[in-house]
């Protein structure tokens, strides 16, 4: 088991809790009827996103999906801008024109959030190609689910990335469901990572609920990419503890699956690791309390923020309309 130093653990814990508390807050707002927007819950997948973002540098690029809250907040989008966008406000990252499924924040490297399953992989290649062309030393990480592994763009992108040895990390968050369809009902091969071999690329499957597996795996992939050795497919096994989107029925999940994912919940596991590394309960609680205070303040400001002007529908279509 690879050791992770205390500073890195603290960083991962902080990012994980930021993702988790943001998710909790969003569900609270939706449940209370304060907001009514599409939201794709990340409960159960917080650690995968947090550990992956902790393995990147600030200037590295990220491409994520509609279930991208984890990557977005863990990479560091300022909370007020993030909430502003999710609530469709003028103060949002995209002036309220992108929304929960299309968060973009180049300042923190969140270059594309796509609403189309599998479409991020080919775009990640292009970001990485630019870095390879201009030698800026950046790597690009693209996050997607197990469902995306069955779309053509996945295969085209994997082959091209390996062909050119692009500095890209393919992070498959295998949460065992593609929308409402269970893994076994959409894929017969035992893992996604084994597909990497078909492209001549390294592929690893790790437990995304275990910080000692997910962080070193992504870090090694990032280091390889930065050394110019090409892409890696990292498959992080995890659980989506809610439905496909907030409010969606997920009674199709069998009871044994629910029991399994509760037992594997990454949050108590991570807290246990933190305590084993001599962080105190009080320290950890303080971190969460600070995050909650930041989130609450950001939400209040976002709720009070102005709506975008209606003439925004004519702007940013082409440069001439910018």
């Amino acid at each position: 088991m690879a050791e992770i130093d205390r500073d890195t653990l603290l960083d991962i814990y902080t990012r994980t809790m930021k993702v988790n508390r943001t998710d909790e807050k969003f569900r609270e707002l939706l449940m209370g009827g304060k907001v009514a927007v599409m939201y794709y819950c990340v409960r159960g997948q917080e650690l995968v996103s947090a550990a992956a973002m902790a393995a990147l540098e600030k200037e590295d690029y990220v491409v994520c999906t509609y279930r991208g809250q984890g990557e977005q907040t863990a990479k560091g989008i300022p909370m007020e801008k993030w909430w502003g966008e999710c609530l469709g406000k003028a103060t949002g990252t995209c002036k309220g024109k992108g929304g929960t499924m299309h968060i973009t924040d180049p300042e923190t490297g969140i270059m594309v959030t796509t609403g189309v399953v599998g479409s991020g992989l080919p775009i990640a290649n292009g970001l990485a190609m630019a870095s390879q062309n201009n030698g800026d030393g950046r790597v690009t990480l693209v996050s997607f689910g197990d469902g995306a592994a069955n779309i053509g763009g996945f295969h085209e992108a994997m082959n091209m990335a390996q062909l050119y040895k692009l500095p890209v990390i393919f992070l498959c968050q295998n949460n065992r469901y593609g929308e409402h369809t269970a893994y076994a009902d959409h894929t017969d091969s035992p893992s996604i990572a084994t597909r990497a071999a078909g492209y001549g690329m390294p592929g690893v499957t790790v437990d995304g609920n275990d910080v000692h597996q997910i962080y070193p795996a992504v870090k090694e992939a990032v280091d390889r990419a930065r050394r110019g050795e090409g892409p890696t497919l990292v498959e992080a096994m995890c659980y989506r503890m809610m439905g496909h989107f907030f409010g969606a029925d997920f009674s199709y999940m069998p009871p044994e699956h629910i029991a399994e994912m509760k037992a594997e919940d990454p949050l108590p596991k991570l807290r246990k690791v933190m305590l084993e590394h001599q962080f105190t309960e009080e320290e950890l609680d303080t971190i969460v309390a600070d995050i909650d205070a930041q989130i609450n303040a950001a939400v209040e400001r976002a709720l009070a923020a102005p709506l975008p002007d209606t003439d925004e529908i004519y702007k940013d279509v082409l440069e001439e309309t910018a």
Binding site: T104, S119, M160
Partner: protein
């Protein structure tokens, strides 16, 4: 000035853009020196000058090609992606329509997507149903894209350079039958601004609004009809979308009659949009209905005589003009 073909014109424009800006690069199937510089040789000689990183031969993976162009554009480069034949855009429409075209808007202006998608097509070379279609209307219907097509070598050079300069995606359509056209080279640095039509021939009785290869048909017909005393104005849109509305409307207000002409099939074609807009805005100037000519509403056939029958006929253009101006 030297005479150049349209192929050379495109090559020169790409070459000088690559020389001026290290962020400009080409990618596509068979584009590098190893494969001869593209199936129509548009990128010939560029690998030798700029290396394989800037003339990237790709796998046959249209989604990966356009996705890579989108990503590189987001990172500030200016990719020129080649989709070998226009029908293959069907493979990568998601990347073009959902991503390239929309990322500027959906990001609130933060991530423009400056990229050129070069593509080739054309009826009359016996390529059959899946290698010949003109699909410009698909893209003209999507906000956030320029759709461009040259009808002559000088415009090819100038439009390509302007397309590479543009800070938004451009679909650049090259008609196979036009590659060999020769004309005077407009010289280095020449640009034809996007969104500006050309009055290819002035006239007073009717305006033909067209673009690409059918500009040649329109000009030929105009020559013939001049001998019969019918004065035809030919507007070459050059940029199909967003098009130069001012030039089109001014021409129709002058002549009082309009005929739209394109190789693409007629139903729901760009001619329909042009006709509707002309009728809304020039009603008082019109002496008759706007007429439309386009390809036959079927797949492009293989057999030569069928293919020739499929294409808009010069005799149809003549007949429509005569009917419009009321001369037998």
């Amino acid at each position: 000035m030297a005479q150049i073909t349209m192929t050379q014109a495109l090559n020169l424009a790409i070459d000088e853009a690559m020389a001026d800006d290290p962020g400009v690069f080409c990618l596509g199937e068979d584009v590098s020196a190893k494969q001869g510089g593209g199936v129509f040789k548009v990128t010939a000689g560029l690998t030798e000058k700029y290396g394989e990183h800037r003339i990237r031969a790709t796998p046959i993976s249209e989604t990966a090609i356009i996705g890579a162009a989108v990503g590189a554009a987001l990172a500030g480069q200016r990719p020129i992606a080649e989709i070998m034949l226009m029908n293959f855009v069907g493979v990568c429409m998601d990347q073009i329509v959902n991503h390239a075209a929309k990322l500027r808007f959906m990001s609130g202006g933060q991530t423009p997507c400056p990229m050129v998608i070069r593509t080739t097509t054309g009826v009359g070379v016996g390529f059959g149903g899946q290698h010949s279609d003109m699909l410009e209307a698909w893209f003209a219907h999507v906000a956030g894209i320029h759709v461009v097509t040259p009808s002559n070598p000088a415009d090819a050079r100038g439009l390509m350079r302007a397309s590479i300069d543009a800070n938004d995606p451009v679909i650049f359509i090259e008609n196979i039958l036009c590659y060999g056209l020769k004309a005077e080279d407009p010289g280095p640095g020449y640009r034809v601004p996007l969104g500006k039509a050309a009055i290819a021939r002035e006239g007073t009785d009717i305006s033909i609004i067209t673009y690409g290869r059918t500009v040649l048909d329109a000009l030929a017909v105009a020559d013939d009809l001049a001998k019969e005393g019918i004065s035809v104005e030919v507007i070459d849109l050059r940029t199909i979308a967003p098009y130069d509305e001012a030039t089109v409307l001014a021409s129709v207000r002058k002549t009082g009659r309009a005929l739209t002409l394109h190789e693409a099939v007629r139903p729901f074609g760009t001619g329909a949009e042009l006709a509707a807009n002309i009728q809304e805005k020039c009603w008082d100037s019109l002496k008759g209905p706007v007429r439309r000519i386009g390809g036959t509403f079927s797949a492009v056939p293989f057999a030569s005589h069928l293919e020739q029958a499929w294409i808009p006929q010069k005799s149809d253009i003549v007949a429509q003009i005569k009917a419009s101006v009321g001369k037998p």
